[in-house]
Symmetry: C2
Subunit: 300 residues, 2 copies
């Protein structure tokens, strides 16, 4: 094997971390020597057996000390602590990125540990499935999905990340952290919050009715149960860390829902029809991106 | 052609009506002579061109006067009026069913027009896609989906419908109208209401931000836009006609959402984690039914 001389470390071996390793193995021609680390021994063993990293190490130091690029793919809630550990060992000139779903809080948590000779470039792949853990990763997860880079400038360092993510098949976008958090609050965090709630409501109703109505779930509810089966740790951390933007969006949603409720109460034919017609048009705006989420959907 | 001597009429040539015609053509061996009618000339022409009915007629009388079985597949809001027209022409012993998504109101609207020598057996196939109109129908729509028959008894008449729907591939369940409306309120109507709302909220936010954030829609929001692109007339009618059950479920949902909001505000780690863990388990309860909705999903 004629491996390249760039070292890349992935810290955190869940869905995102292992998908990155799969993608590097599949899409790069020995350009990187990869190091994989997770606090969880079982996760490391699974990755070892999957044979998707050159070195699966049992010590975070060994994972990052030679690294040219370090990717933190751990839950948002532990980013700060993991960064603190990692940063002690980084060599000069290392590029550090993270894949956290919230950016303002993660950047705050990480940046205080970064020394001036390390390049911290936060990022976020808008990709995922309802499955989690090291067995759930796959090489095409990022194909045709946005990968946000949080940087106000483009330079040779951001370009290095851009090239890697592009080769994974991702579509690169640059934006600032505030805008990211607001956009994600409406397009991802609120939908998941609602899904978690509605599935919980249905569950409570079943208990009250002492009957199993959920099995009648047709299109609609089925989608919600899929969203509501996503990793609880990840989502807890997102709601704790994108708190402000989510609460703001939630208030808007509640206002709109209250209005729709009013129309239902009033049996207001015209307003209901207008409302349901308007939302139909919005669908056409959505970029037609990759297929894997639908493939994944079929596993239900 | 050696057609059988049973006449079956489908009134209303949208997704459900045309899917029924497709399914009869595919799955029955000339057992029925089929009559198709829709108020809309264009819809009739499309069905004529699709060649899925023996007779596409331009007069509701011609569609139903010889019918042994009549299926009303029109929006819930016009069921009563259509039934009124149809019932004038029905011969003695005809079985009349409907496919309406709400049952209490539809039964009230229809039953006053039924004479004593006609058998009215309400039903509801829990099947659909976000597409509507005569071109959206397909023969396998009902495969592995529930088809509810609203009847407190099983007899030779309900058995006739049961046999047809079963041959379409549907799973037959009997229940009463109240229970149906409550079950559908939580498993279908509320999810759609929420989806319509959230897509509207996102759209308003875009206008305020003067920016196109919806294109970042990943899993989650994407599902909602699919639901929110369903037929507006159909959904308006559902919300007008299952009003009471929906408002009751909506109040429960709002209560649960308020609680979750409280936990987010408090940054209550434990309660958030517990809530997100609980809903994950519910998913496993959902019956693993047909694939076509996923196939359809892929058309996005």
């Amino acid at each position: 094997m004629n491996k390249g001389n760039k070292n890349l470390a992935v810290i955190g071996l869940g869905l995102i971390g292992t998908s990155i390793l799969h993608a590097i193995k599949l899409k790069f021609d020995n350009e990187f020597v990869t190091y994989a680390y997770d606090l969880n021994l079982k996760h490391r063993q699974i990755v070892e057996n999957l044979n998707i990293a050159d070195y699966v190490v049992n010590d975070i130091k060994k994972a990052v000390e030679k690294a040219d690029i370090v990717i933190l793919a751990v839950p948002v809630g532990v980013m700060g602590n993991v960064a603190k550990e990692v940063c002690i060992y980084l060599k000069k000139g290392t590029i550090l990125t993270d894949t956290g779903s919230t950016k303002v809080s993660v950047i705050n948590d990480i940046k205080k540990h970064i020394s001036s000779d390390v390049y911290f470039i936060p990022s976020h792949p808008l990709a995922g499935t309802e499955h989690s853990g090291p067995k759930s990763g796959f090489a095409t997860l990022f194909e045709n999905r946005y990968w946000i880079i949080v940087s106000s400038v483009k330079n040779d360092k951001t370009l290095i990340l851009e090239n890697i993510f592009s080769k994974f098949g991702a579509i690169i976008e640059y934006m600032d952290a505030d805008y990211h958090d607001k956009a994600l609050a409406i397009t991802s965090h609120l939908p998941h919050l609602i899904a978690f709630t509605i599935v919980g409501t249905a569950s409570n109703l079943e208990l009250d009715l002492k009957n199993d109505i959920i099995r009648y779930a047709a299109t609609g509810f089925r989608d919600f149960t899929r969203l509501a089966s996503s990793d609880p740790t990840m989502w807890r951390d997102i709601f704790l860390n994108n708190n402000e933007a989510i609460l703001e969006i939630l208030d808007r949603f509640n206002k709109d829902l209250l209005e729709l409720k009013k129309y239902i109460k009033q049996k207001n034919k015209k307003e209901l029809f207008d409302f349901f017609s308007k939302t139909r048009r919005i669908r056409s705006k959505i970029v037609k991106v990759g297929q894997h989420e639908y493939e994944d959907f079929k596993k239900i």
